[in-house]
Symmetry: C2
Subunit: 347 residues, 2 copies
DNA sequence: TTTAGCACTCCGGGAGAAGGAGTGCTAAAC
DNA sequence: GTTTAGCACTCCTTCTCCCGGAGTGCTAAA
């Protein structure tokens, strides 16, 4: 059944009022805020309908109405006016994106904190890789003491290296042979192919060289796996305690430990630029009465980042969504130009 | 003025009872728990003395006594019996130290979480370097497209590398010259000496080579500075909400945002194996009514780690101290053997 | 010096009571 | 047929009052 225009307007007022005040909304308040002139009695009739249809709830008989998850969903889908960012907000976001570079996860934490202070809710950030990484190039550098440095350049132009400790001596002439072997057989293949290949060459070269070879290959495999792992960081959890819904220590505790210890089960965004999950739409029990808004951004051409906001179902969806997508765009911009030597030079 | 034996015993009972129950302790309770038989009236006289001397406080006239910071300090210095770890606890600690390796700060976070779940308070971890790092060895590897990989081995045997993007072509013959230059003039010196040296060689080599040289040196300098920076991570902040003292959302919020955003001003341990800071002994306003216990451990020969526990002044000092030092010893042991290729092979 | 006894203080919890916000229904007005 | 005024009713919240209990400090006796 369709909602009449007036019902829609009433629902909108209820949701927005409740978002603002965190209190149940009464018929009188609604009447005052409605543009079309109707009495509170009329509103009451409509409220009864909306409640029966499941868009609103009543904490107890003589209280006003609060939106149900279904009501919020309808609001988000149909009633919410998508907000433009104010100049102030835009400036604030741009400023907060002046992150100092460095390790990826440190940048993520910084960005998460920044967003958190912009939306006043906890946030989380994750990255996923668009393509599988491979090794593009190996090098081995001899060091005194029979040790050796392995240098691995990956398909995203990142270079990593580690000292390999060998018990045995490998002469200077043997290294180029190994390097050649590595660059012939172990580049541009997956981790599992690597280990197959490793077995197949095992008998073709002397054992002590094979030891070194396998160390180098294993190091590379570790790197690829490490880089492929989804990394999630959360920030701004303490913001929760300022929200009326979470002033109760036990409730806050549950959600905060979830954010700290079960990051992996935070919802993700499979496609599209943004997703909003309202209350029970979340699969995870701990998020059943929170809402989550997720947006994605690009980290160069190679990776995709995901940034989410966790708040009460009584979240200011319009504002948060606007700020979040502004922030995500800012991140895309930032990673587009600021990281040339690292991630975005895939060609 | 010295405390009589009986006063000491009473103080001990008050502190330990209050630690256990979080409630003010009355004279009758004390009398029941004292071994020497005295009446509650006698205890009351003693309590009055102890209060006047500043060891105890009275929330209001007709309440029992709680320890003052001075009282806790006396307890910690003189009365507390240092606990031995039970077999269970020892096993638990050892189990929790089965960290999967990886990046340093990820290990720190894991360890912090583990400790936090052992002591049931928030924790923080930091590292400091015992000696200044320098570069031990440079390498440059040519890549197609006029680019070049810089490989830097530091004095702690860590090897890092990055792709340097050059606009210009550097021929294969020129690289060894540069590498030689780097390994002659830029190893084993401090960052500031590096930039001096860089200026002094500026005119001795062709400009396009100098460009590459300076990129490599700057990369190394960044690495050293990055590695020298004190890194602090906190964990288990949500534990706070289970503590009666922090059930108040505002109090919890203040401390939690402090832990999240002002990590740098958490107290450190300059020497000695352990330090206990009680309430107002903390310089930072946010910690004025919390206590902090800090211990240190070794990360190989080269670095020192610091691990702290933040809790209410009504903390179980004996138990926490025992678990903390057990944990710190465990960390030292772990870093002593588990990280051979990384940090502990300084010779 | 210790202890029993006692009056006193103060907190915490429970019971009303008052106030207020909001509802649902009815009957009249539009 | 919709809308609205009016009104009784419900239920929450807040306040106050009161009481019981825990604990104290003091006094006087052991």
């Amino acid at each position: 059944m369709e909602l009449t225009q007036r019902k829609r307007q009433i629902l909108k007022v209820v949701v927005e009022d409740h978002i603002r005040t965190a209190e149940p909304v009464g018929s009188k308040t609604i009447a005052a805020e409605m543009t079309g002139k109707v009495s509170s009695a009329t509103i009451r009739n409509e409220l009864a309908d909306l409640t029966e249809m499941g868009y609103l709830e009543q904490p107890h008989t003589s209280a006003g109405r609060i939106p149900s998850p279904k009501g919020y969903r309808f609001y988000v889908n149909e009633l919410m006016e998508s907000q433009a960012l104010s100049e102030d907000e835009r400036v604030r976001i741009d400023e907060s994106l002046q992150l100092r570079g460095g390790e990826m996860d440190r940048m993520m934490t910084q960005a998460g904190k920044a967003l958190s202070s912009i939306v006043n809710y906890p946030t989380y950030m994750a990255t996923t890789r668009k393509r599988r990484l491979t090794v593009r190039r190996f090098d081995l550098l001899g060091v005194d003491g029979g040790n050796c440095i392995a240098v691995v350049m990956m398909s995203n132009d990142r270079v990593k290296s580690q000292l390999l400790q060998l018990q045995l001596d490998v002469t200077a002439e043997q290294l180029p042979i190994l390097v050649n072997l590595l660059n012939t057989h172990f580049v541009n293949i997956s981790v599992s192919e690597m280990s197959q290949k490793l077995m197949s060459v095992a008998e073709q070269i002397p054992p002590q060289l094979f030891l070194l070879l396998s160390q180098a290959v294993n190091y590379a495999a570790e790197l690829l796996e490490e880089a492929d792992k989804r990394e999630i960081v959360t920030a701004g959890a303490s913001q929760l305690l300022k929200i009326p819904e979470f002033r109760d220590a036990d409730k806050a505790h549950d959600l905060m430990s979830f954010l700290a210890d079960s990051k992996e089960s935070l919802p993700v965004l499979d496609d599209g630029p943004m997703k909003i999950l309202i209350g029970p739409e979340n699969v995870d029990e701990a998020l059943k009465d929170t809402s989550v808004i997720i947006a994605s951004y690009d980290i160069g051409d190679d990776m995709r980042g995901l940034i989410g906001v966790v708040g009460p179902t009584r979240m200011d969806y319009a504002t948060v969504a606007a700020r979040l997508s502004g922030f995500a765009e800012g991140l895309t911009r930032m990673f587009g130009k600021n990281l040339p030597p690292k991630e975005d030079t895939e060609q």
